[in-house]
Symmetry: none
């Protein structure tokens, strides 16, 4: 495979536009003989596939189930083994926090401790999210900063929250401040590198302050933190691929992932129709669009076969509208599979559809896992989707004389 | 591809079981329009393939014909370019010798020399194996050791034998004690590294002693040695994949290869039915089983198309019994192809069949080379079969957040 530098050297600017529709967790598994994609009634996909090339893409490599981070990095053209996004960062992005390069992010749990600082419940009884919000508001008010480090706290679902430590000379090489098991004492974060000394001091002071502030809030009378991570330094899509890229996503995590690779995040509403409206409005201003559709993943993770089928059908109904924009390249894929049968992300390769004037055309009849397995694009690595899209947009020069 | 450490970090223990049936040299080539697999009548494979995913796996890379060593290492999940098994070791394993990490192994030939120490026949007239056995017994009796190094000698077929040099500070960086051509003088082993000095002295003393002991045994009145090799240090399947792995094979070489990666070798009989009986007896005690079937390779190497077909049919008859064990993952493949038309190992990718609750299902109708070429698993590297099997056994966690 070409190095990043080799690909960047081949980039040529053209006016052509690339529209990448990511149907999160698209791929599935057959239940009663047919997968979600096979069960869905999709007249528009069926028509589109006749003038498209298809294949199956491994997000990372065969058998490896990716998280949303590596899954997305790959389809954005970034090697998911080279660029890694820490847990704390992904959680912060998912919580809608705006990160800077001065921040260290961590995932937190409210927990219950006894008088001897022993953790008796790592989830503080899985409180209602509304209570979590009140507790986070209290922490924000009472602990705006530790020394010269600013704290940004954001509630999550039930007992979960995100925290950003924002300041100079912070470092994420810390162990989790989490004994992992109940019946054990709380533990402080420890340095994995001397450069993280200051951060460890701040983090541990913070956890002691949390204990003081929450002393009357049993069962949520302390916190544990894990997954310390800095915002990764990733070259932008503009630097690497010469693209003015825009992202349209209803969920904060996907907007955050897009921002990680330097995309402009466009303000949009709550529905797929809202997203398409946003796409229309901004279509003349960018040359790459990442359009994210979440429900295929949500219903897959819920194990809801029927609703995953319906969400595929919902996207299908919008295909004519997306085609009417006349992007030179229109690609559709998932960042990973989420079969209802597994109720989780899975290792199965993602169906990939590429539509352009120059894509070559398949003999396949439908856009499904099995049909993509015999597509002209074959089985390939998801990280190569970007070069395929760029090539079809005539944005890549010849390699070698 | 993920590094070994990255894969090991994703391992999670579950009670699920993986059964890997290796039909040695399975893949073939069409003669009169149909390959051995296509000619065989295989109702059970045909039924199994309908609920399985298939593909084609390159043992090493396209066009490269593997020996049994790299072929097996790959399907056990070890990069065959990183882990190499010396010729002497493979020969010793094939001869049924138990090696230790103190040993240097070599392959030997009995040969004929004239009074000037010139080799007149590198194979000493391709003697009957029975004579070889007598000569080896004599060497064992007369040369139990050289200095502080113990000798273990094992007869092979015709003029071939194996020898282990067992002692401290031995090293395999030696040239062959073999001029390769007839009409040339015998030559001593020479050091390729100063650390091999002691070994060179011992090896050359041994060859002089052999000449003395065999002086009356014309035409087998001397020996040549080549392929000096130490037992390789390979992390066990337990270390790398968290598997309690067991091997069932009728031939010593395959038992030896399994032992190299830390599998427990189960005692079994001479037939495939014996092997399955052994599998049944021990099924509750391990979570990975390597079941080796030899005849597909033997008949392929003999160029016996008909008998290779019949051996595929023999395995087919046992499929219901294997399925009745209800392993969560059941995989079938070859370590390499052995087309009857070539009478040898070949570079053709191996058909691979994966059966599990979550394997995804193909549209293919039979388990053959051509059908596997359009399977959902596509074309992939055999070393990735292990991650696919582990994923399907739900023994791998998600990569990245």
């Amino acid at each position: 495979m070409l190095t990043e530098e080799m690909i960047s050297a081949l980039i040529q600017k053209t006016d052509s536009k690339i529209l990448l529709l990511v149907m999160d967790g698209l791929g599935g598994l057959a239940v009663n003989g047919k997968s979600e994609m096979e069960t869905a009634v999709t007249p528009n996909f069926d028509a589109l596939v006749k003038t498209s090339a298809v294949g199956l893409a491994d997000p990372v490599s065969p058998g490896i189930t990716p998280g949303s981070g590596p899954g997305h990095l790959a389809i954005f053209g970034y090697d998911p083994l080279k660029y890694q996004i820490g847990r704390g960062v992904l959680e912060a992005l998912g919580a809608g926090l705006e990160m800077t390069h001065r921040d260290v992010a961590a995932r937190g749990n409210f927990c219950t401790i006894d008088s001897g600082d022993v953790i008796t419940d790592r989830r503080a009884g899985r409180m209602a999210t509304a209570i979590n919000k009140k507790l986070c508001a209290k922490l924000k008010r009472e602990i705006p900063a530790i020394d010269d480090v600013q704290l940004i706290i954001q509630p999550g679902i039930e007992h979960r929250f995100s925290v950003l430590f924002r300041g100079d000379d912070l470092d994420d090489r810390l162990t989790d401040a989490d004994p992992q098991k109940e019946g054990k004492k709380r533990i402080p974060a420890e340095t994995l590198d001397p450069a993280a000394k200051k951060t460890a001091v701040i983090v541990n002071k913070f956890l002691e302050r949390v204990k003081e502030v929450l002393r009357e809030d049993h069962p949520a009378n302390a916190a544990i933190l894990r997954g310390f991570a800095k915002y990764p330094a990733i070259p932008s899509m503009h630097t690497r691929f010469g693209l003015r890229a825009a992202a349209i996503a209803t969920y904060p995590m996907y907007r955050g992932l897009a921002k990680l690779v330097g995309m402009e995040v466009l303000k949009t509403g709550d529905t797929f129709a809202d997203e398409i409206q946003t796409l229309r409005q901004h279509f003349s201003s960018y040359d790459f669009f990442y359009l994210h559709y979440k429900k295929t993943d949500s219903y897959g993770e819920d194990g809801n076969f029927e609703m995953k089928v319906k969400s595929i059908e919902e996207v299908d109904r919008h295909i004519p509208e997306l085609l009417s924009l006349d992007a030179e390249v229109f690609a559709i894929t998932g960042d990973h599979s989420s079969p209802s049968a597994l109720k989780a992300h899975s290792w199965h390769p993602s169906p990939f559809l590429l539509h352009s004037k120059y894509c070559g055309v398949d003999v396949v009849g439908r856009f499904t896992e099995r049909e993509c397995a015999r597509g002209v694009l074959g089985k390939f690595q998801a990280v190569e989707e970007m070069t395929l899209m760029l090539a079809n947009a005539l944005k890549l020069k010849k390699y070698g004389a």
